[in-house]
């Protein structure tokens, strides 16, 4: 689907689309559609591939700084060439397939994983005119494609014929299925409030400013803020990031489902993890942080895709910051957090969102009551459930130490 060149926006805003149309214009008519689609795929691969490369570097640098080290600084200026050195290393490493492994599945797992995680990039609105595929139910599609990565993870664990890989795959499955629920339940209120399953529709619903100052983003409502936090916690678990990186807990499972992978297949798993993180952050931006909308009316001259990139990078840095801070959870703590805390909170949040939508037409003074009730509905269950979650837990006393 290639819409005609948009008009009425700044040149910078239309630049990517104009560039695509100019390139496609060299081809004969029937080939233009395919070439345009191919061009979008190449652009996504190039942008997110580069983002992945420099995200690994940024992560290493930030983790190092948090631990008061300089981080990689030998390759190029401030270690900027480190991703390329890593890439060359990964490409030239020997690709080992265990004799007992299922060769087809062992090969297929990283391919499937990277394919599914790339599929999710198709529906994210990156800018006003930058929506690769504008599906009517793109949110549904996004989570369906994202969930399919679990299949690939289990495939990797099963095909490796290694007890650590299999254990890790079981863990990964338990974790991913547990956290799929709060992830989706935190998205449902957004769909409920905006009345659309289309990502562009959700972004359009968040346009405009209240009193020309506060953006109408979902995250600035009580249920939106709660939903955003639940979404981000679940996204951490979905993308196997610390503190939920149990499937790759080195101290227990060597490298989890990656144990029998080496060389570029390992790099593909690594890449898929970062792609998943980027895609989920992109979806969080779309659903909760107003998508590509500028935070203030006077900042609208900056192109929409820049705002999307800024929000995306902020979330990704948040992921890294959390990784630098929190220790890994135990498997029982992990599942308990999902089933006894996040799922009930997300369900209550759905009710809060319903109340918020119904009470929208309330007259002036009652708006204060509306805010109070909604905040109470968010804070009350949180406090009650957290009390239940931490009941009977206290700092450990070492008697014989």
């Amino acid at each position: 689907m290639i819409p005609g060149a948009p008009t009425g926006d700044t040149l910078l805003e239309r630049a990517p689309v104009l560039l695509r149309d100019w390139l496609v214009g060299f081809l004969p008519g029937p080939a233009r559609w395919a070439a345009g689609s191919l061009l979008m795929i190449v652009a996504i691969l190039a942008v997110f591939g580069t983002l992945f490369a420099f995200l690994t570097l940024a992560e290493r640098k930030i983790l190092a700084r948090v631990q008061n080290r300089p981080g990689p600084n030998r390759t190029g200026w401030f270690g900027l060439l480190q991703p390329f050195a890593d890439g060359v290393k990964m490409l030239t490493k020997e690709d080992i397939v265990p004799r007992a492994a299922d060769p087809v599945l062992h090969f297929l797992a990283p391919v499937a994983l990277i394919a599914f995680s790339l599929l999710t990039f198709a529906v994210i609105p990156y800018g006003r005119h930058l929506v690769p595929v504008d599906l009517d139910s793109s949110i549904l599609y996004f989570f369906a494609a994202g969930t399919a990565t679990e299949l690939a993870v289990f495939m990797a664990g099963w095909a490796s014929h290694n007890k650590f890989a299999l254990l890790a795959a079981m863990r990964a499955l338990a974790q991913l299925i547990s956290y799929e629920l709060p992830l989706l339940l935190s998205v449902v209120p957004v769909v409920l409030a905006t009345g659309t399953l289309s990502a562009t529709g959700v972004v359009a619903a968040q346009s405009g400013w209240k009193w020309d100052l506060v953006p109408r983003w979902v995250v600035f409502t009580p249920w939106g803020a709660a939903g955003f936090v639940i979404f981000m916690i679940s996204a951490l678990a979905e993308s196997n990031r610390s503190p939920f990186d149990l499937p790759e807990a080195e101290s227990e499972l060597i490298a989890g489902h990656l144990t029998e992978y080496s060389g570029f297949k390992y790099a593909l798993f690594f890449m898929a993890e970062y792609f998943g993180m980027c895609a989920l952050s992109g979806m969080a931006v779309t659903l909760f942080l107003g998508g590509w909308h500028a935070p203030l009316p006077l900042l609208e001259f900056i192109p929409s895709y820049v705002w999307f990139a800024v929000k995306l990078l902020a979330l990704l840095l948040g992921f890294i910051w959390i990784r630098a801070t929190l220790p890994r959870l135990r498997i029982d703590q992990l599942t308990r957090l999902a089933w006894k805390f996040l799922v009930p909170l997300a369900l209550v949040n759905l009710a809060t969102a319903a109340f918020w939508s119904l009470s929208a037409p309330w007259p002036g003074p009652l708006q204060l009551l509306r805010w109070a009730v909604a905040l109470g509905l968010v804070a009350g269950p949180f406090l009650l459930l957290s009390r239940g979650l931490t009941a009977g837990l206290r700092p450990r006393v070492y008697r014989y130490a």
Binding site: R65, V66, Q67, P70, A324, T390
Partner: protein
């Protein structure tokens, strides 16, 4: 309340992140090959042989090939072969010297027992840690040419211990000279005492033995 601990933890990491940019006390990394930290005086790794002069290290080794260190060495990384002739040592006495003195640094465990047992202060611990070799069998065996380092180097890396050794050696030399003088006086009681100007001057300033 649940979550406050997480926020506190995030604050700690943020403080460390910011601090590493402006607080040298936090950011302690030394960029090793370009920058170097000053080694502590007591740092030791492998032994070296002390020679009195830098110009003629093989002729002025303090080692007299007594082989005590060879026998005491727990991992037995020292190999000594005595010479057949004798040379005067620091005190002017005729002594043997090591014809072969090898230390296998691949075996040495840096225990410093050789240094403790040496009655001649001839073997001391070095501070050179960059001794990587491409051949692990012969490349890490140091012979006496490689092991010999002048006394001035010892003073440079370990001033405190070197001063103490210096005093002890000077004391030994003075005692030896007094003994020699007493023996000379006993042998020729009738003869008038020789002026002891030259030996005493030598005792005040630790002499370099003849090559």
């Amino acid at each position: 309340m649940i979550g406050t601990g997480l926020l506190k933890g995030l604050a700690v990491t943020a403080r460390n992140f910011a601090g590493s940019f402006h607080d040298p006390k936090r950011f302690v990394t030394t960029q090793y090959p370009e920058e170097r930290t000053k080694l502590p005086e007591a740092y030791r790794n492998f032994p070296f042989l002390v020679s009195e002069s830098a110009d003629d290290p093989m002729g002025t080794l303090r080692c007299v090939a007594c082989q005590i260190c060879e026998k005491e060495c727990p991992p037995q990384c020292i190999l000594i072969e005595k010479s057949s002739d004798k040379k005067p040592d620091a005190n002017g006495r005729m002594q043997l010297y090591p014809k072969i003195f090898d230390i296998d640094t691949a075996v040495c465990m840096s225990c410093q027992i050789c240094v403790e047992v040496c009655p001649f202060d001839a073997i001391k611990m070095d501070q050179v840690f960059e001794i990587a070799a491409t051949d692990r069998f012969t490349g890490l065996i140091l012979d006496r040419q490689a092991l010999a380092k002048p006394d001035s180097y010892f003073h440079q890396i370990r001033p405190t211990e070197a001063a103490e050794v210096e005093g002890r050696l000077a004391e030994g030399r003075r005692a030896a000279q007094e003994k020699a003088r007493a023996a000379a006086a006993k042998a020729a009681p009738a003869a008038p005492a020789e002026p002891p100007a030259a030996p005493s001057a030598e005792a005040a300033k630790p002499p370099r033995p003849p090559a």
